[in-house]
Amino acid sequence: MSELLRSELLGSDLSHARTLALAGRHGGLGAAALTPAAPATRLSLRAKPDAVETLSAALGISLPTRPKTSASSNGRHALWLGPDEWLVIDETEADLMAAAASSNVLHSATDVSHRNTAILVKGFGAEVAVNGGCPQDLTLAAFPINACSRTIFGKAEIVLLRTADDAFRIECWRSFSPYVFGLLSEAAEDAGN
């Protein structure tokens, strides 16, 4: 850590002193470029069907109830992970915990903003790059834009969200991110071939 940062640390508010897991990383080639995503707030949200509507209202985004689907609006995404489970991501770093709490219905919300980190994959080879480690069928017909799924990537778990024809957001746990990034880089480099 630089001396500059050190001295800054002695002041007591460190709320901006984040160390990002993939800081400074870049990878991929023309076929698929990799970029670490900016920090975001994230919620692991659990609830029964009868709470979905109220929670949706509280979060300002309608929680999807079909497998493999997601909803997005204004930088906020709700990803269906399981029949009672969503990953809610807010790219503006809004306070999702508070929003969920305001619903006053039975649910479980856990802040996982720092547990996860994300990698953005973009390029004509994005699909092939992700298929370098992910066994799912990622063709557009099977995995359309906004489709999402928790799945496996090599030896790590990821959550995959397709954001465009040629773009994916890959969420993974912090400590797995160098591995995911590394494997994705190799796969991306081969994706154009």
């Binding site: 460190l14 897991a21 479980s108 547990r115 992910c134 069928d137 090599g154 746990w173 796969a187 071939n193």
Partner: protein, 997 residues
């Protein structure tokens, strides 16, 4: 001229595009597109290797993947040496270095060939019958000798510098094989819009059209049609055409492994390209169009260089423009070999004679032979050959005996017919059926969604092949919901339809037990060996295979299995289908380990999990240890310190001042919901109802069988929210265990689990000055002992970031565990460090943590317990709620053996000599004077030098241990016996006062 045997105008290679390569150091010319085999043959080189057992000179038998003989080494550089390459499938590239194998000192003069003279001794299975006396000689003489003779090529001895890649792919139709059948099927499927992948192991599509020049499709020359069709397919966005790609394994539910060779044929591959690529394809339907493999004839000395399959000679001529000899004989039981003779004859090569074991070959081929002036000897056999390093003559005799006539030749083509390639079908668990009329195994009952078409399905007729394949393509596409707008039609024509064929020993292989009529060239298995196996009682084809090693070489019996089976059937007097086939297994052809593992090497072999503070710790001198996938700071070595000194210093510092420790790897599970406490009541032995929000408790978790599974501190944040911690190694396991019970046994509970392990960076500050260190940084939490007693949890801020602050201790000191959102971990670590260091505190690692907790008698699940320890055994009985009606493990705990007397219990051990540190894992006995085997009553689970106690300390599991406190026991080591006294488990601050300051 790239080789004297190149025939001008023949073949499809471009004469101007030349390359040079080296074979055993000698330089040869080749053309681009040549295989090593075709290039050597072009230069008149037939001798390319030595056989496994007898070291017989061997040449090139085939022109494809089935090659048993022509195995070579290819060396790119010191690190990239490839043994056992089939010369028939390896392209030549400029500057390539090729070496022959299994010979010394040279290919032409090989000392090992003496084995050929000793061959009578080396009958199948001879080693089972000898080398038993004297007993010691096996280990010291015989086995080393046998081993030295083993193997063909030489393993690389340096790390491979090439890289490999992998891809998962999905399609509606996977077509394996791109001959006429595969291409037709792919075309029909592709036209419907279905997603199609078609692969072929060869560099270009076409299959049999490589050699069969008589074929025309829609008026186009067959090979030209194939290339045009492939080009056509490549242009379609729904199709992937993969040449040089072998389908090697057919697994459950249409999961097929493909091995694409990307750069192996290139002189200077682009470094960015992988050498090979693994495709893992999940197909809705599979079309198997793998063709057929020609069989050799089994007769005496049929293994000399220059003796090869007829279709191979035809491929060398028609595709590579190479003639395999100047005066060529043909020995066949099948019409197709005639066409090889015709093509060669038309190219100006002398055909010495066609020897046909049948009395009545096809009329068409006979007529053509007559027209071309080729002598045909029907009802004859080749009964022997001569020629040392290359065949020089064949002896021909009428079937049933008679005088043999010797005919001079320099190559001999053979064909016993065609074996449909049912490998993939059979790997799919389909059952083959024997077609008695054509004496072939064909696809019978299907087990998966696949179809066989063309030669591999036993379809001989060209037009029938086309129609069957087109139909299959359409049918399989339709199964995925695609349909054709118009019906595809193709018109094929060829010169002859092939008939005939035989399996087993031909005339001339005879019943004689000394004749070497080879079935399996690579493993030197002869017809006589099969017969011997049967004589020795091996009546199952599986026994015969294993006894003779027939079909067990790198070609996996592509040529030999059917012959072996036929000879076995004949010897046994049973029909072929009654004897049965051996099992087809993956891979179809050998696959490089590098391809199979592709990216999984080095950093990508397994995720390396590092905590948020890893880099800082590394900079502070931390040495790391592996715990599961995690790297944990083990100890922090300062200049001049060894591990021991560092740990002693850390231990002292924590107890005298304070220390900081990265505890981020501990598993964390957030348990949320109104029934959270009730759920934990069921999962843990403890009771949770009484735990107030803001307080923590140490909990133990059992498996249903009553043994300790995991432990950790659980903090209650609110009525409906718990922060559960688990061991580092147990995190994933415990989460799964809890989910399992929640979802399937207690689904009525309103509670949810979320893994929060990585949400939090955890910094433990332990020691008398812990409070002083963090106090200036913490906001909104009263840290006083009264307001925030031992085993409490508060939420607030530290350094302006949110924290879950635990007051707890795994050291026996006043302690806090600061949880902050992971990305803030490094900054907070540094901030705490800035407070801690001036006070004399230091960072400590897992080793110090282990020592300190052992001083306090705190256990580590997995070290002081294994999967056989109950809470009582571990002195944790207090944590088992006695009044609870149920919890996981409640019944298991009550089984007779778990409550029996004399169980191993965890106790402390004090060595009589305080300086002696026991070894973890050392065994304990009561009576040190016993002879081996000794009665062991326990073992040391933890042992350390305790700088704080000024002596060694240890924990141990000892039978009836608690009742032995004060007793002297013994730890026998190889060089001495260590006397120990059994003690309780707490060695430091027995009253525990330091926790509560």
């Amino acid at each position: 001229m790239s080789g004297a045997n190149r025939i001008p105008g023949a073949g499809r290679l471009t004469p101007a595009k030349t390359a040079r390569f080296f074979f055993d150091g000698k330089s040869y010319a080749a053309l681009e597109g040549d295989t090593v085999a075709s290039a050597l043959l072009a230069n008149g080189v037939h001798l390319v290797g030595r056989s496994f057992k007898y070291h017989r000179p061997r040449g090139i038998v085939s022109a494809g993947a089935e090659e048993p003989n022509a195995l070579i080494g290819v060396e790119r550089d010191a690190a990239r040496k490839q043994p056992n390459v089939r010369a028939t499938v390896q392209d030549v590239f400029d500057g390539m270095k090729v070496v022959s194998q299994n010979r010394w000192p040279s290919l032409a003069f090989d000392v090992g060939a003496v084995n050929n003279l000793l061959a009578p001794f080396f009958a199948a299975g001879f080693y089972y019958k000898t080398f038993m006396w004297p007993k010691q000689a096996w280990k010291h003489v015989y086995e080393p000798q046998i081993r030295a003779a083993a193997g063909l090529g030489v393993s690389p001895t340096e790390d491979d510098t090439d890289h490999y890649s992998s891809r998962y792919a999905h399609c509606d139709v996977l077509v394996i094989g791109a001959g006429l059948a595969g291409l037709s099927a792919a075309l029909a499927a592709a036209k419907t819009g279905a997603r199609v992948i078609i692969c072929d192991e060869q560099p270009e599509v076409g299959g049999a059209l490589h050699y069969d020049k008589s074929v025309t499709i829609d008026g186009l020359d067959g090979f030209t049609w194939a290339q045009a069709t492939a080009a056509n397919l490549k242009r379609m966005t729904n199709v992937k055409v993969l040449p040089r790609t072998t389908a090697f394994g057919y697994y459950a539910q249409n999961f097929v492994g493909l091995n694409e060779r990307v750069t192996e044929h290139l002189a200077k591959p682009d470094k960015k390209l992988p050498r090979e690529r693994l495709w893992q394809v999940r197909a809705k339907r599979v079309i198997i169009a793998t063709g057929a493999i020609e069989r050799h004839m089994v007769f005496a000395n049929n293994d000399r260089p220059g003796i090869m399959l007829a279709s191979a000679a035809r491929t060398f001529l028609n595709h590579f423009g190479v003639t395999v000899g100047k005066k060529i004989g043909v020995y066949t039981a099948n019409d197709s070999a005639y066409e090889a003779a015709f093509d060669l004859k038309r190219a100006g090569v002398t055909i010495a004679a066609i020897v046909d074991s049948r009395e009545k070959p096809g009329e068409g081929v006979l007529a053509e032979a007559r027209a071309l002036g080729i002598e045909v000897l029907t009802g004859h056999g080749v009964v022997n050959t001569s020629g040392n390093l290359r065949v020089s003559s064949m002896s021909v005799a009428r079937n049933g005996g008679g005088a043999a006539r010797s005919i001079a030749i320099d190559a001999l083509l053979m064909s016993a017919g065609w074996t449909p390639s049912v490998h993939m079908f059979s790997q799919s668990r389909g059952k083959v059926a024997y077609d008695t009329e054509t004496q072939r195994f064909l696809p019978g009952a299907y087990a998966q969604d696949c179809l066989s078409v063309g030669a591999c399905n036993g379809t001989n007729d060209l037009q029938a092949t086309i129609e069957e394949s087109l139909a299959a393509g359409e049918l399989t596409a339709r199964a995925s919901g695609y349909s054709a707008s118009e019906k595809l039609e193709l018109q094929g024509h060829n010169a002859f339809n092939w008939t005939g064929g035989m399996a087993g020993a031909a005339e001339g292989a005879g019943p004689d037990t000394t004749v070497k009529a080879f079935i399996d060239f690579q493993n030197d298995v002869c017809a006589k060996d099969i017969r011997l196996a049967v004589r020795e009682g091996m009546h199952s084809i599986e026994h015969i295979k294993r006894f003779t090693t027939n079909g067990m070489a790198t070609d996996q019996g592509k040529l030999s299995n059917i012959h072996g089976l036929a000879i076995a059937a004949e010897t046994l007097g049973r029909e072929i289908p009654k004897v049965g086939l051996t099992t087809f297994r993956a891979p179809y052809t050998p696959v490089t380990f590098g391809t199979l593992i592709n990216h999984s090497r080095g950093e990508l072999f397994d995720p390396t999990r590092k905590t948020p503070m890893h880099a800082l710790e590394e900079a502070q001198g931390a040495v790391f240890e592996d715990v599961g996938q995690w790297k944990r700071a083990w100890y922090y070595a300062r200049a001049g310190e060894d591990m021991h000194q560092a740990v002693n210093r850390e231990c002292k510092t924590v107890r005298d001042v304070a220390g900081m420790f990265d505890a981020s790897t501990l598993g964390k599970i957030e348990v949320v919901g109104p029934d959270a406490a009730q759920f934990l009541n069921l999962i843990y032995t403890n009771s949770w109802d009484t735990l107030k929000p803001g307080r923590c408790r140490y909990g133990i978790m059992l498996r249903e069988d009553g043994f300790v599974y995991d432990d950790g501190v659980v903090g209650r944040l609110a009525d409906d929210r718990f922060h559960v911690t688990t061991t580092t190694g147990g995190a994933a396991r415990v989460m799964n265990h809890m989910e399992d019970y929640l979802q399937t046994e207690f689904p009525h509970l309103d509670v949810w689990l979320t893994s929060a392990t990585e949400q939090w960076a955890v910094i433990a500050i332990q020691g008398p000055k812990a409070r002083e260190i963090i106090a200036p940084l913490v906001d909104g939490i009263d840290l006083s002992n009264e307001a925030f007693p031992h085993m409490s949890v508060r939420e607030g801020k530290i350094c302006g970031v949110p924290t879950r602050l635990f007051r707890m201790s795994f050291t026996g000191e006043l302690g806090f565990e600061v949880n902050v959102p992971a990305d803030f971990g490094p900054a907070v670590w540094e901030a705490i460090r800035a407070q801690a260091e001036p006070l004399g505190a230091c960072a400590y690692g897992t080793e110090t943590m282990h020592v300190l907790r052992a001083e306090k008698g705190y256990i580590i699940v997995g070290q002081d317990t294994d999967g056989t320890v109950t809470p009582d055994d571990a002195s944790l009985g207090w944590a088992v709620g006695k009044k609870k009606p149920d919890f996981v493990g409640i019944r298991g705990l009550r089984r007779p053996d778990l409550v029996a007397d004399g169980r191993k219990q965890l106790v402390g051990l004090l060595t009589k000599d305080p300086k002696v540190v026991l070894e973890e894992g050392a065994q304990i006995v009561a009576d040190p004077n016993q002879t081996v085997p000794m009665t062991m009553i326990g073992h040391v689970t933890s042992a350390y030098w305790s700088e704080n106690c000024g002596r060694s300390i240890a924990l141990a599991l000892v039978a009836g241990g608690k009742a032995r406190i004060g007793e002297t026991l013994y730890v026998p080591m190889p060089d001495r016996t260590i006397a120990v006294e059994v003690s309780d488990m707490v060695f430091f601050d027995k009253e525990g006062g330091r926790l509560h300051v």
